[in-house]
């Protein structure tokens, strides 16, 4: 489908050398035009990345490859030591243990958050009494997740257990269910303690999961608006059940947003300030020779995160359905 410029030029007949450059610009192929427009659309990001982001990141990366020599009377000097800081970081057994434990806990948490937020988003998309109120309530975790409010809760810490024994902070989640509750529930059935523990963990984590899935819920809700109502209408006409409609229409159409939410949840649980590894990196920063080691640690950690995102993102990305021809 490319237009060949030479043949067009012949057709015009009047093009001299001076005019040909102008013409080349005017009759660029559609692909070229679109590529140029694409660059224009992405330009703000490219500019920001080159001019602002790289200089900022560069300092931090540089630090991870250097040794700081403090000069007496203030100031310091960076000495290049190549991979020594990375060696130190990787020889820290605690770092690897925490990293591994954190990754294991995500295997259950992330699907739980995704399922829960999709389910609630579908509910909140249906017409019902008090929908605005419910939506407003489910929006609150988004505000609480970052910034001032969590810092208020954090500063009060555990000391602020109030009069009636109700916890004041959303950061400290009281255990709703204990193992004995579950055991008494399952006492008639024959189940292992392992299962009891898993159920108990889920029940107690619901606090955490609800508070962490606010963002995902809103993203799903916005994604659900994009599904044309006429598709559902025709489904109803053809006699599809709600179950079939979910699997055949809603799930494929929302799948691009599932990928976004998966990647976001993964990154968010890796890099949130409550993450064990991030906390450990902060602790290491305070030690002697800590700044270099902790920056090496964090860059190694980000590499691990990016690889995880790339691997799982590619797997899930293959299952995503886009409404297009090719």
């Amino acid at each position: 489908m490319r237009f060949h410029l030479p043949s067009l030029k012949k057709g015009n007949g009047k093009s001299k050398k001076a005019g040909s450059v102008k013409e080349r610009n005017r009759i660029a192929s559609l692909d070229k035009k679109k590529a140029r427009a694409g660059w224009l659309f992405v330009l703000p990001f490219i500019l920001g990345f080159l001019l602002i982001y790289i200089p900022i990141v560069w300092q931090s990366i540089q630090l991870s490859f250097s040794h700081i020599n403090y000069i007496q009377g203030g100031g310091y000097d960076l000495q290049n030591v190549m991979f020594e800081n990375y060696k130190n970081a990787l020889q820290d057994p605690e770092f690897l243990n925490i990293l591994w434990a954190g990754m294991k806990s995500m295997i259950l948490e992330i699907p739980a958050i995704l399922f829960f937020s999709l389910f609630v988003a579908i509910l909140l998309n249906q017409k019902m009494i008090g929908r605005a109120a419910f939506r407003a309530i489910f929006f609150i975790p988004v505000i609480l997740a970052t910034g001032l409010i969590s810092s208020i809760d954090y500063s009060q810490g555990n000391a602020a257990q109030n009069v009636s024994g109700i916890s004041t902070g959303s950061s400290s989640s009281p255990s709703i269910v204990t193992a004995s509750d579950i055991e008494s529930l399952f006492s008639n059935m024959i189940v292992g303690t392992q299962l009891v523990n898993i159920v108990k963990d889920f029940a107690n984590n619901i606090f955490d999961i609800v508070n962490r899935s606010g963002v995902q819920m809103l993203i799903f809700l916005a994604g659900l608006q994009g599904i044309s109502p006429s598709v559902y209408e025709s489904c109803e006409m053809e006699g599809a059940s709600a179950w079939e409609t979910f699997w055949k229409i809603t799930l494929p159409m929302i799948s691009p947003m599932i990928l976004v939410n998966f990647v976001y949840t993964l990154i968010d649980s890796f890099t949130a300030e409550s993450n064990k590894v991030m906390q450990y990196i902060k602790v290491v920063f305070q030690q002697v020779g800590g700044p270099e080691k902790s920056s090496a640690m964090s860059w190694f950690y980000f590499l691990v995160v990016i690889l995880t995102v790339a691997v799982f993102g590619a797997i899930i990305g293959r299952l995503v359905f886009y409404q297009r021809r090719d």
Partner: protein
């Protein structure tokens, strides 16, 4: 003509027959048919389950707030009284009044509204453009550039804290200002320094917003990209065939379709900028501009000597500050969520 009349006759007859049948069935049978059918039972069970489920989750979300709200109305004597647990004995609005008047709540509200509003509009628009560029145009380096977006998502700004602060305190892109030489600007004042001091202004956050680098902007770009990827190409192609350019198509066809996404991203960026503590404490080092993070303190008139419950009282006051910060956001959300309604015809394509 003939065909038409027969059709209307048939219609009227069938309508009549339904009515006659309806009138002949006794009331009890009618009720039984309506309310004891499997269809109705299924629907009712679903409604009840849905309501209970949502109320349960709403309770979990609101649970920490129950005490905070009740404590915000308590007077100091209620904190000393052991018998008072949830319902204040002598309710008062003094806590709210003191915070609003003494901590400069409305001034902070105005400033934060300006900052959060301008940043949110910028971020929403810029991320929408970038996301559209990634989703719909094939150009060399598209995938690599998008990987860089993911990279900016992964590295948290808290790790880059010092470098960020330094960058904007001595703002000078590639030494341009240095090259131009001489006095450059602080706000408007010309100094003998070869860079721009941008801290204590809105500029650092505006610059970050305009380049898609502000808080969680990678997520917004990703959201828009995925959303636009789901839009069929035929839509734009038909606009191109009708003679509309790339940018006109974007404004006239694409933007109206992305309203739910735009609203969601706006809400995210607005509320995160509103409750932000990290950037405001990083870029606003002097106390010139009063923002939301500076109202969280105990007003002087409320510094009472409580023998047993001093800590609890102060925490309650801080929580009340938190409630005052959240309240405008929830109100804005209630209005904005009206745009999150299904019904925009997306495809516009038949066949």
């Amino acid at each position: 003509m003939n065909k038409d009349t027969t059709q209307t006759v048939v219609k009227r007859e069938s309508k009549n027959s339904i009515r006659v049948e309806f009138d002949r069935t006794p009331l009890i049978d009618r009720i039984r048919a309506k309310y004891f059918s499997l269809y109705f039972l299924k629907k009712a069970a679903w409604y009840i389950f849905r309501l209970l489920f949502l109320i349960g989750i709403a309770y979990i979300v609101l649970y920490p707030f129950i005490y905070k709200i009740s404590a915000s109305f308590m007077s100091p004597s209620d904190f000393d009284d052991v018998t008072v647990s949830l319902i204040p004995r002598s309710p008062t609005l003094n806590t709210y009044k003191a915070i609003i008047s003494e901590n400069g709540y409305f001034k902070a509200l105005g400033n934060t509204f300006l900052l959060a509003g301008s940043c949110a509009i910028l971020q929403t628009f810029v991320c929408c453009i970038i996301g559209y560029g990634f989703a719909k145009f094939k150009f060399k380096g598209n995938k690599i550039l998008f990987a860089l977006v993911i990279f900016t998502m992964v590295v948290p700004h808290t790790t880059l804290k010092l470098a960020l602060q330094y960058e904007f305190r001595n703002f000078d892109i590639l030494g341009i200002f240095n090259f131009l030489g001489g006095g450059v600007i602080e706000g408007i004042n010309i100094l003998d320094e070869t860079y721009v001091r941008l801290n204590n202004t809105f500029w650092p956050l505006w610059i970050l917003s305009a380049t898609g680098l502000a808080f969680k902007n990678g997520l917004y770009i990703y959201m828009f990209r995925q959303y636009f990827k789901g839009v069929p190409d035929e839509l734009e192609e038909s606009a191109y065939v009708d003679g509309s350019g790339v940018f006109k198509t974007f404004v006239k066809i694409i933007l109206p379709m992305a309203i739910p996404m735009l609203v969601t991203v706006f809400l995210f960026s607005f509320s995160w900028q509103w409750t932000d503590n990290f950037y405001t404490s990083l870029f606003f080092t002097t106390s010139g501009t009063k923002l939301m993070n500076s109202i969280i303190e105990v007003p002087k008139s409320l510094l009472v000597n409580l023998p047993t419950a001093a800590d609890q009282y102060q925490n309650a006051i801080r929580n009340t500050c938190g409630l005052l910060i959240i309240a405008p956001l929830v109100i804005i959300y209630v209005f904005a969520q009206k745009f999150l309604i299904q019904g925009i015809e997306r495809t516009g394509i038949t066949g």
